[in-house]
Amino acid sequence: MASASAFEYAPAPESRSVVDIAPSYGLFIDGEFVEAADGKVFKTVSPSTEEVLSEIAQAGEADVDRAVAAARRAFEKWSALPGSERAKYLFRIARIIQERSRELAVLETLDNGKPIKETRDADLPLVAAHFFYYAGWADKLEHAGFGVSPKPLGVAGQVIPWNFPLLMLAWKIAPALATGNTVVLKPAETTPLSALFFADVCRQAGLPKGVVNILPGYGDTGAALVAHPDVNKVAFTGSTAVGKEIARTVAGSRKKLTLELGGKGANIVFDDAPIDQAVEGIVNGIFFNQGQVCCAGSRLLVQESIQDELLDSLKRRLSTLRLGDPLDKNTDIGAINSAEQLARITSLVDKGAAEGAEPWSPECELPSAGYWFAPTLFTNVTQAHTIARDEIFGPVLSVLTFRTPDEAVAKANNTQYGLSAGIWTEKGSRILAVANKLRAGVVWSNTFNKFDPTSPFGGYKESGFGREGGRHGLEAYLDV
């Protein structure tokens, strides 16, 4: 296309030399890196090049036993520490993460495929901030509104996804440790590296052994962890289908459960919205992290009268997005995390076209190696279409229209999910009225995809239950 040359930049890759990835990593149990009991390993690859980054020990049931036992042994002392001492460990962790943030950002970009711009400017700052925030709670729990002497639950089994590997680790581990629990955490099989580097951060911080245990593995490792009889608390972020399976597993036990699951967020643009800002918000809402975000604004609901104007602007903006090397500082769209995820996105997009919606993508050259998907938007989408109902978890936007605010709310709420929503309008009373009616845990008005450790995050309906972040996030790890 004619304008393409205007956006040709010289390559500006971030240096890989800041991170030193070992050829193999063990499980992190009781303060030591150890091999899996059955000796199993798996490889983690860079999704942008398919290069093998490292070989990782794969935890089995015996390793889950071992890790839970280590966490149980560590619990007595850790929970008995004065809150002010636990706080200091967490402050140390926050500071070490800040010191090592460039290294961890490059590592995360290599293992996950997301642009360095995001790991550097979003993931890592939020990770450090999350530890810093919950560190401060550790010696103030009696003032948090959960009774005069709230108690930790014990051993927390935590299973996290691959889309924000280190940030999801922070959301799980920081509140758990601040409240006096010990943890066994399973990172996703495609992104185990940052969790293993975090184990080294714990070592540098002098964290007592057994307080944090990291068990890389697949779904069966996670299943063994949540089913383990000596786990007192289960926290999961991932798909709604797996969340339901976990809810069944813990049924009838005394395990406390919090789930942060899928979404199909509606981003509602009214006719008086500031169009340029709305376009930026829509792009950020669905193309941030290649759309692999549970709270993505994957359904654009645009008021009929401004549909053409908005779509023209949006398409123009999409044509300027730069897809390619995630380590390049100018890259907007990185790689899809895995071949499996790419296949899922591709199949849903095929289905969207087959069902009659019209796909559109900017001209966009995809690299020959690695897993890539061009930013895509669908028009002529109805509420019955699969792409309007199922979570795609990719850079794919479904555009629907509405005429009245009531219709917008009805369509926005017409989903099994209830995680996020966006509202774009200059009219304050309309923002408040619509926000009030949306059945979603996070509502962004005239902005999108903003996160903060002080701000509770979590879903309504089948997007899960419990909140992460803020004072609310403590409840998941306290005996209340």
Binding site: A129, G145, G147, T240, G243, K244, E245, A247, R248, A251, G252, R254, L259, L261, P274, Q277, Q416, I431, A435, L438, A440, G441, V442, V443, W444, S445, N446, T447, K450, D452, T454, S455, P456, F457, G458, Y460, K461, E462, G464, F465, R467, G470, R471, H472, V480
Partner: protein
């Protein structure tokens, strides 16, 4: 005692503000602690349970949308109506639970006071559990509690009245609507409470009361796709596990059965917060006097 023959009451369900019999036409015998016949109570079916859910869903928007002050007044009105029928409930609770008149009176008085306690909570809980969040950026950021939706409530089996009020009042105080399954062997106080609710400005459908076999009615409620939460207070361990598994299909919020030694003890806010969602709303603040506004 005069030799006048007294008029017996036909006990009915309470669904959508009306008092229907079970669509199944079934009843079961309810006796007092000594085995003396008290009444035939409706034995609700799956269909009754589904009708109750439809009524509760229909009532949800209006009740959740009512002001907290208004809900507080309505709950207080329930206490007023109950106080006026104190003698009736003392009698029914004494029969139902095999208590002396004075022990039954303590239960009823505590139940009246419980409505008053929760009436006062309706417009306070949002300030206790919600609030502004000091995010590190130019954003207004507010978290507020909202009702979860339609809540199925399995009332405690032993404490037929105070236990029932103690689990029901917190559910509706925050704007949820309820489908209550009364104590299986002692359903009469619950069915009579429906008559109080019907005359207390509680909108029809906000509370629906079913009597019958707990396991039979609870199963369709636990698996119902339009029920958002379930309180398992009245389920035994085996039933509770089955229901929790069924509830996972649409990720209902589940309140597991908790041992309660003394229903008269002051409740905390746990039963209020169990059926609340937290909504967090962001908006840019812009800035004044610093080079213009910004989004």
């Amino acid at each position: 005692m005069s030799d006048r023959l007294n008029v017996l009451k036909t006990y009915k369900l309470y669904v959508g503000g009306k008092f229907p019999r079970s669509e199944s036409g079934r009843v079961y015998e309810v006796t007092d602690a000594k085995g003396k016949w008290l009444a035939n109570a409706p034995q609700s079916s799956r269909k009754d349970a589904r009708d109750a859910v439809v009524a509760a869903r229909k009532a949800f928007g209006g009740w959740a949308g009512a002001t907290a002050y208004n809900r507080g007044q309505v709950l207080y009105r329930v206490a007023e109506m109950l106080e006026g029928r104190r003698a009736q409930f003392v009698h029914e609770v004494a029969d139902a639970e095999g208590l002396s008149k004075s022990k039954a009176a303590e239960q009823v008085d505590a139940a009246v006071d419980r409505w008053v306690w929760y009436a006062g909570w309706t417009d306070k809980i949002a300030q206790v559990v919600g609030g502004g969040n000091p995010v590190a950026g130019p954003y207004f950021n507010l978290s507020s509690p909202e009702p979860t939706g339609v809540v199925a409530v399995l009332a405690p089996q032993e404490s037929s009245f105070l236990g029932l009020v103690s689990v029901l009042a917190p559910v509706i105080a925050t704007g949820n609507t309820a489908v209550v399954v009364a104590s299986e062997k002692a359903p009469l106080p619950a069915l009579s409470l429906a008559e109080v609710l019907a005359t207390s400005d509680v909108p029809g459908g906000v509370v629906n009361v079913l009597s019958g076999r707990t396991a039979e009615i609870a199963a369709p409620l636990a698996s119902h796709q339009d029920v958002n939460a379930i309180d398992l207070a009245g389920a035994d361990e085996v039933l509770a596990k089955e229901l929790e598994i069924a509830a996972a299909d649409n990720l209902k919020r589940v309140l597991r059965p908790q041992p309660v030694d003394d229903w008269t003890a002051t409740p905390g806010i746990d039963r209020l917060t169990a059926f609340l969602e937290t909504k967090t709303v962001w908006h840019p603040t812009g800035s004044l006097g610093a080079g213009g506004s910004s989004y």
